[in-house]
């Protein structure tokens, strides 16, 4: 068996998307005199995977550079979108510190699109004024990732570790003291001693067959935190992006690419008969892009159910009324990339359908990004509560930056008060036992199991839910967990895909079960959680569901949301 590698650091950051990179930079800069030593770990390459790099669209922030704005207006819209469930302390932090982080990114050279020399802002659904900054063309996420990568590389005190899959957090005396990991390119088990650990692993979109994020967004952080004793909240609220690309098949483009097109050009959403339909569901579009994500998803799914879907089972999105010159002015080279995929927007509509996009739920944290467990912090999409039952467009990258910065600062403050590592090798024993076990060779196809789980979630734990479907999903998830067993698949050699799948499935199945159970318990419809058997929002359900893990059981309780200034709708 391969020897266990052990490393020590002040701050361990898990995940190198926008939140993780910002946390690492801030921790390294704001530690006591010399700055904290940071280990920035990613299961993939540094700053390449995750959701940030995939964000082709916009970042919401109250800069007010052209139209007067104030963070309190942004907060008002965020709380409205959250349908009464936002943790207002977190929403406030997001809105209040957003402008500062956006300007910092500007100084670091991200290249926000400008109009008359000032940072331009687009109008997006759910916002009361133009508030969404972006980088042309469809380049927001890659530019944010690239900029942060460059700053990470220039910041002393950050050690990078790619291809490092964190398998478990390690706890001792009620605190998180580090982690156990698998180094993918050598196959070696690893232990990491850390005085503070920041989980910045993003969301759980990989649980669904059609999703808009990277393959490494399988809810790792939720599972790691839950097993380490930290509570999760709002896990039933999965956001579906209504107009994810469906057909014709295309490559080299992100499926959520139609969002910026709609910001700039409006476009028309049509059913299979070529008719406008959103007005039947109480929202008229008139060529402007005003429909919020939950309502648009509802309208499209209902049209499909009524037999009025497009050929591939979605809706049409048409820009045929836009002159070619206007399309080219708005999207330049993207028009050529579409032409390479045989798509001419002046002559044909494309087909779109809802796609798993973002998770509102996550690890419960305070405004310092500290969880209930000392030593465990969280940042970005992994945090639950800031967006309540439905996230406003543009808030995801903002929260990645703001929460990342705050988590890095808090981690450095914790480390400054500690003289020694609380890590004990004995505390990592259980995690290492699992990671180093050579599983039996005759096991089910792990990649096929992931596809099966994605089907279960798409069929029964999608945007529209019923008791029957959620119970069926729970049974099928439990069956998959039985097939997975307690010991990893694979040969334990370099880049052992079956072992990677096994650890992924262990997390994905736990998180899938949490989502299904929270959805089953919430007998109402609110925001992104729609129960066909319980339509309508109920005042008594204006509560967050808090999830805990007790001796292998999922325990759900209701708790009143943190006090808010804006009443529930």
């Amino acid at each position: 068996m391969t020897e266990v590698m052990h490393v020590e650091t002040d701050v361990l950051v898990i995940g190198s998307g926008g939140a993780g990179m910002y946390a690492a930079i801030e921790a390294a800069r704001s530690g006591a005199q010399s700055g904290a030593q940071v280990l920035l770990a990613d299961r993939s390459l540094i700053g390449r995977g995750g959701a940030t790099v995939m964000a082709q669209m916009t970042v919401a922030t109250a800069l007010g550079s052209h139209v007067p704005d104030h963070w309190t207006y942004h907060l008002h819209d965020t709380l409205q979108a959250g349908r009464g469930l936002c943790d207002e302390g977190l929403s406030r932090l997001l809105c209040q510190e957003g402008p500062d982080c956006i300007r910092q990114m500007d100084e670091w050279g991200v290249g926000w699109a400008r109009k008359d020399g000032r940072i331009a802002a687009a109008m997006a659904p759910g916002h009361d004024r133009p508030r969404c900054v972006y980088v042309d063309f469809l380049n927001t996420g890659p530019a944010v990732s690239k900029t942060l990568r460059a700053v990470v590389n220039k910041t002393s005190g950050i050690r990078k570790a790619c291809d490092l899959l964190i398998t478990d957090l390690v706890s001792h005396d009620g605190e998180v003291v580090g982690a156990a990991a698998l180094h993918l390119t050598s196959g070696a088990p690893v232990t990491i001693a850390a005085k503070a650990t920041v989980v910045a692993t993003g969301g759980l979109t990989r649980l669904y067959r059609r999703n808009s994020a990277s393959a490494n967004m399988g809810g790792d952080g939720y599972a790691l935190a839950l097993r380490a004793g930290a509570p999760l909240i709002d896990m039933e609220f999965v956001q579906f992006f209504p107009i994810g690309h469906l057909a014709p098949r295309l490559i080299g483009m992100d499926p959520i690419m139609w969002d910026p097109f709609r910001y700039k050009l409006g476009g028309r959403l049509l059913n299979g008969l070529g008719e406008e339909f959103t007005s039947h569901y109480g929202s008229r579009e008139d060529g402007a892009y005003v429909l919020t994500r939950d309502l648009a998803t509802y309208a499209i799914v209902k049209e499909i159910e009524a037999g009025r879907g497009s050929p591939h089972g979605g809706a049409y999105l048409s820009f045929e009324h836009c002159p070619e010159a206007e399309l080219r002015a708005a999207f330049g080279p993207v028009i050529d990339r579409l032409a390479n995929n045989a798509i001419d927007l002046t002559r044909m509509p494309v087909e779109v359908a809802p796609i798993a996009h973002y998770h509102m739920g996550g690890v419960a944290a305070d405004a310092r990004m500290e969880t209930e467990i000392p030593g465990l912090l969280v940042a970005g999409e992994a945090v639950g509560g800031a967006n309540g039952a439905n996230r406003l467009s543009g808030n995801a990258v903002t929260e990645a930056l703001v929460f990342g910065r705050r988590a890095g600062r808090s981690a450095a403050a914790r480390v400054a008060g500690m003289t020694s590592q609380p890590f004990r090798q004995q505390a990592a024993k259980a995690a290492l036992d699992v990671a180093t076990h050579d599983g039996a060779s005759n096991r089910p196809n792990s990649a096929e199991m992931i596809r099966r789980l994605q089907s279960v979630m798409a069929e029964d734990v999608g945007p529209f839910r019923t008791r029957e479907g959620l119970e069926r999903a729970t049974t099928r998830i439990d069956d998959l967990a039985g097939e997975l067993g307690e010991r990893p698949f694979g040969d334990g050699q370099r880049f052992d895909m079956r072992r990677i799948d096994w650890f992924d499935l262990r997390n994905m199945l736990l998180v899938a079960r949490v989502v299904a159970q929270a959805a089953l318990r919430r007998t109402e419809s609110r925001g992104a959680h729609q129960r066909e058997d319980f339509p309508g929002m109920l005042p008594e359900w204006r509560v967050n569901q808090v999830v805990r893990w007790h001796d292998g059981h999922i325990d759900l309780v209701s708790a009143a949301p943190a006090p808010g200034l804006v009443a529930a709708q």
Partner: protein, 112 residues
């Protein structure tokens, strides 16, 4: 008879101890080679090692490999209904199958 692509894929943990294996993959116009490799994993052999994060979005730039001798991103290369030869990058250290050590040295995990 539906069309298939024949993916001739290099497999192995060491350059001198590898071999090609050919997989018949159902062909659908518009698919990428990465789609074909993912199909192999889910339907034929989950041990096939490939590296990718984003799926066909050309954002993560991780799925670089050699297809018919050219260095390309598997997510940007169209699957075609013919034999296609897929190999790891020849100018990077081999990890396994189609996975090579592509990270800059400063990003790699090391003990000290």
């Amino acid at each position: 008879m539906t069309a298939t692509a024949q993916l001739r894929v290099w497999r192995g943990l060491a350059l001198r101890a590898g071999k090609f294996e050919t997989y018949e993959v159902p062909f659908e116009p518009g698919q990428s080679v990465l789609d074909g490799l993912r199909w192999i994993r889910a339907n034929r052999d989950p041990t096939l090692a490939i590296r990718f994060s984003c799926i066909n979005a050309n954002a993560c730039k991780e799925c670089m490999m050699e297809i018919d001798g050219d260095t390309v991103y598997a997510c940007m290369e169209r699957l075609e209904p013919r034999e296609m030869t897929v190999q790891p990058l020849s100018n990077k250290a081999l990890v396994r199958d189609l996975v090579t050590e592509i990270a800059p040295p400063a990003e790699r995990f090391r003990k000290a």
